[in-house]
């Protein structure tokens, strides 16, 4: 046994000396670490879900429009449909789907009720790869078909305002691409309820062909909507699309199409940080408390050790090693618990569907929360807990190593 081995052995045995206390500290660290990891996993999953809920039913990952369209949302900013460009983009790597869209504002009327709305003309066949709106059509209705020139699908809240149901006729009044008045009656084919509250309130979906006609588009569209194979490839894909479009176009990725999501995530992260910091503090004080107590109780013992010729640095290292053992075990258990807990919620998500109306009141539209485990969270948490353990043991350890043997042995 070398000197170092002796230090490690002493530390290890000292950890088990006061089993109850070590166990409590160990559990504090484990529970704290597990909670931090679990919370992080829930956040990751929640954010991913929110992004998905906004991107999937509506915006897609990337949109190409003429500059100015996104701010104004009027047909003035429609562009000439360019099949060469369209095909070029659709053959790019990581493109899962691409489709043409026409969207603009309008007024819908049904009997005595009318409401401002957003009309979205889409190609249902192609959009199947991009948006999932057809999934949200409530029973009793159906999504529009490509050849349907008279059908419309309404968001549920919008339909309520209009007091319109499946089979009712609603009239649309808007302005066409050429400045003429666009007016047409549509038959309500279905009502959808998507996870995005705003869409449910404002959106009416018609077929691309119907939109072309009613708005007299003359070969123009307002957007190409693109879905990437996964969220992480969006940035690269957007850059590649930018390189093949001239500067009359703007290529926007989901984060710019849905800036409120990023804002919400940033806000939520910030409040999460506070909670996590409190947990870290609890863990840190758990460590400090144990080490301090155990050092205090052993004052006389350290006095003896110093008297018979133990170097102060050896005592210092021994106490740090004790703290290392307790935190390493706590972190290990915390990781296992945190992983298990997170994993459970990746398989069985938290489902708030029951509380839908309450959630809607708070503008929360994501109802099902999956956890998403990220290894980086685990690494970060364990490094932080280790650092905290180091810092919070440093001072008691230093004090013990600097004890004066004479005074410490007078204590009993």
């Amino acid at each position: 046994m070398s000197g170092y081995k002796m230090t490690v052995m002493l530390a290890w045995r000292n950890v088990w000396r006061n089993k109850r206390r070590s166990f409590l500290t160990f559990m504090t660290i484990a529970a704290g670490t597990a909670l931090i990891l679990f919370m992080r996993s829930l956040q990751n999953g929640g954010y991913a879900q929110m992004i998905e809920d906004s991107v999937a039913p509506r915006t897609g990952h990337i949109q190409v429009h003429e500059k100015g369209f996104w701010e104004n949302m009027t047909l003035e900013y429609a562009f000439m449909d360019d099949n060469e460009l369209f095909n070029k983009i659709s053959s790019m790597k990581n493109v899962k789907g691409i489709s043409k869209r026409i969207s603009t504002g309008g007024l819908l009327t049904h009997r005595d009720s009318s409401a401002g709305c957003e009309i979205l003309g889409i190609d249902p066949e192609r959009e199947r790869d991009i948006i999932t709106m057809d999934r949200y059509v409530l029973p009793g209705g159906k999504f529009i078909s490509p050849s349907d020139k008279n059908g419309i699908v309404l968001g549920r809240a919008l339909a309520r305002v209009l007091d319109a149901g499946v089979g009712d006729e609603v009239s649309l009044v808007s302005q066409g691409f050429d400045g003429s008045i666009a007016a047409k009656n549509f038959m309500v084919r279905g009502i959808f309820k998507s996870p995005n509250v705003q869409y449910n309130r404002t959106l009416g979906i018609i077929s691309l062909d119907a939109a072309r006609e009613v708005f007299s588009m003359m070969g123009h569209v307002t957007a190409y909507a693109i879905r990437a194979s996964d969220i992480d490839s969006v940035a690269g894909l957007a850059a590649r699309i930018r390189s093949v479009t001239d500067d009359t176009f703007e290529v926007m990725s989901w984060d710019r199409l849905n800036p409120e999501i990023l804002q919400f995530i940033a806000l939520d992260r910030a409040s999460g940080h506070i909670f996590v910091m409190i947990l870290y503090l609890i863990v840190a004080f758990g460590i400090l408390n144990t080490i301090q107590m155990s050092v205090y109780e052993r004052t006389r013992e350290f006095g003896i050790m110093l008297s018979i010729g133990t170097g102060p640095e050896r005592i210092f290292r021994m106490i740090l090693t004790e703290s290392f053992f307790v935190s390493a075990m706590g972190i290990a258990l915390g990781m296992i618990l945190g992983y298990g807990l997170s994993w459970y919620f990746t398989v069985y998500p938290m489902d708030f569907s029951e509380y839908e109306s309450e959630m809607e009141m708070y503008q929360v539209s994501t109802l099902v929360y999956y956890a998403k485990i990220k290894i980086s969270d685990f690494i970060r948490a364990s490094v932080i807990v280790f650092l905290l353990a180091g810092v919070f043991s440093y001072f008691p350890a230093r004090r013990a190593s600097r004890l004066d043997p004479v005074t410490s042995m007078r204590e009993l």
């Binding site: 002796m6 000396r17 006389r300 008297s307 018979i308 010729g309 170097g311 102060p312 050896r314 009993l412």
Partner: protein, 229 residues
């Protein structure tokens, strides 16, 4: 070192030590001169508070005097750094305290080995010497017990074994029998006396127990921080 040849192990010159206690000065040592020769088996005796512990601590380099000097085998302790003092304590002096001498998480044999480990003695030799030493103090069978599983007398025997295992120039024992009953204390003294005879180990212990004083070959009386004879 043969028994006949007597050399000064420790020379003490004009030791003074004052403590501050609640703003009051306590003169624990007021000018002590003392020589201890090798092979001595001596006791420092005096009432409580007379300065016995302070004297032993200063002699052993655990505490520093305000004035005066301690010379161990010709080497002064004056002006030594903490770590130099620590090395002297480790390599040249054996300590036995009144109680709770041992490291609780180490077994008897590990406690005896501990000092040798600090000295860098090789593993095999360490274990062998420690076991032999425990045999000499009559604790062969208890060598793997932790201090809590030993009686007070047995614990003190382990402390004796630890103090002398690496052949220190002197063993300083502060009231080694004070926490033991008469019989156990007496047999601990027998043990120390034997080691003194057989190995020539120099012992200096403090006591205020007349029975212990009787067994010493030399009695150094101390009252109020002064040697009174």
């Amino acid at each position: 070192m043969g028994k006949g040849v007597r050399m000064k192990v420790i020379e003490i010159k004009n030791l003074h030590k004052t403590y501050q206690s609640n703003g009051q000065e306590v003169h624990a040592l007021r000018g002590i001169d003392l020589d201890i020769e090798s092979g001595e088996f001596s006791a420092i005796a005096g009432p409580s508070g007379s300065g016995k512990t302070t004297l032993l601590n200063v002699m052993g380099g655990i505490d520093r005097p305000d004035e005066g000097d301690v010379i161990i085998s010709g080497q002064t302790m004056k002006g030594l750094s903490e770590s130099e003092l620590s090395k002297i304590r480790l390599n040249r002096i054996g300590f036995i305290f009144q109680a709770y001498n041992l490291i609780p998480v180490l077994s008897a044999v590990e406690n005896v080995e501990y000092v040798m480990l600090l000295q860098g003695v090789e593993k095999h030799e360490r274990r062998e010497k420690a076991l032999a030493m425990l045999r000499d103090v009559g604790l062969e069978k208890e060598s793997h017990r932790r201090p809590a599983q030993l009686s007070g007398g047995q614990q003190q025997r382990v402390a004796v074994a630890r103090a002398i295992v690496s052949g220190p120039e002197i063993v300083l024992a502060d009231e080694p029998t004070a926490n033991l009953d008469q019989k156990t204390g007496s047999s601990l003294l027998d043990l120390m006396k034997n080691l003194n005879h057989e190995r020539g180990t120099t012992f200096l212990f403090s006591t205020h127990d007349p029975m212990v004083m009787d067994r010493a070959e030399r009695l150094i009386r101390i009252t109020d921080g002064r040697i009174t004879l």
